[in-house]
């Protein structure tokens, strides 16, 4: 879909969050001099097209106790990768889950799944759970723990400079 200039104004106005009032879309409309029903219709259209994944609250998984995470990686048989990837992605302790190309010979893994838990031990237990689910379709797997954030910059909106 094409996100037009008015859509961009809505995204920019809400980039740091929705206004915390009982009628947040009405308030966004007030900021942008747009009727509330147009704000809602535009956000709905962007959500239907996948530009907006959802309008929601983001729990801080660190402060809520999920302090440990690891990037688990799996070498899945190609003909089963789509189906099994969807099953792994549906697990409640898996956040980002992607199929990616292998980089042979350096890297045999084609499924990446970020696992979350309260501790390193819990993450390892989740990894065993995933391994049991994948069973014989998985030839090998590994998990990479991050030791340091080297850079973290906010994603810029394309066309925003």
């Amino acid at each position: 879909m094409t996100v037009d200039a008015t859509d961009r104004r809505i995204l920019k106005a809400t980039a740091s969050g929705l206004p915390l009032t009982p009628h947040p879309f009405e308030e966004v409309g007030r900021w942008l001099v747009l009727p509330e029903n147009e704000v809602i219709a535009r956000i709905q259209a962007m959500q239907d097209d996948g530009v907006i994944r959802r309008v929601a609250l983001a729990p801080n998984h660190y402060t809520l106790g999920l302090a440990a995470n690891g990037m688990s990686v799996w070498d899945l048989a190609d003909d089963q990768a789509e189906k099994l990837g969807a099953e792994v992605g549906a697990l409640p302790f898996v956040s980002h889950c992607y199929l990616r190309p292998r980089a042979l010979p350096d890297w045999p893994y084609n499924l990446f799944a970020m696992l979350h838990g309260r501790s390193r031990e819990e993450v390892e237990a989740k990894r065993s759970e995933v391994a049991a689910l994948l069973d014989a379709a998985c030839r090998s797997h590994d998990i990479l723990y991050s030791t340091r954030i080297l850079k973290k910059s906010g994603m810029r909106l394309a066309g925003e400079g």
């Binding site: 740091s16 994944r53 309008v55 983001a58 190309p101 723990y145 850079k151 394309a158």
Partner: protein, 156 residues
């Protein structure tokens, strides 16, 4: 903020709000009405509690979540195997590129993992090529072929 909150920082109503509102908000004139009714509180108290949860760091954001790619950008996860004695030098070279959105050190032979974020797909290969020339290291590229984005929930 990465410190775990004490267990009494949240009451049952706070937990209900976190558990319900992470799945998405109805796009209506009164989007908090359903959860307010379920919790037995007013919509004003719902928004006041959300503000408080943000203040104490129990939530990071409340609003629209964008699919950056659907907005027209191009992204690629990349990895480098950096000799330990060159780690800081390579980190400085990599981080200097504005296309590098984030960069993590990980425990593996491939010990540096970063995401390239560009406006157009062809710029990914160009940026990776520049990093290879500057560092003399092979940049492994892992573009996403399929994303599975369904299940993750943080039970409060």
């Amino acid at each position: 903020m990465r410190q775990t909150l004490p267990p009494d920082a949240l009451d049952a109503t706070d937990r209900l709000l976190i558990n319900r509102l992470q799945d998405g908000l109805p796009l209506t004139h009164a989007p908090f009405a359903p959860v307010a009714q379920e919790a037995g509180i007013s919509e004003t108290e719902v928004v006041d509690r959300i503000a408080h949860l943000r203040e104490i760091g129990a939530i990071t954001r409340f609003g629209p979540f964008l699919d950056a790619e659907a907005m027209g950008g191009a992204f690629c996860l990349c990895a480098l195997s950096v000799p330990p004695d060159r780690f800081d030098e390579v980190m400085t070279l990599v981080n200097a590129h504005p296309e590098v959105a984030h960069n993590y050190e990980r425990q593996h032979r491939l010990n540096m993992w970063f995401v390239l974020a560009c406006e157009r797909p062809e710029e990914i290969a160009e940026a990776a090529g520049r990093i290879e020339r500057e560092t003399g290291l092979k940049v492994l590229r892992f573009p996403k072929r399929h994303e599975f984005f369904i299940g993750f929930r943080v039970e409060a």
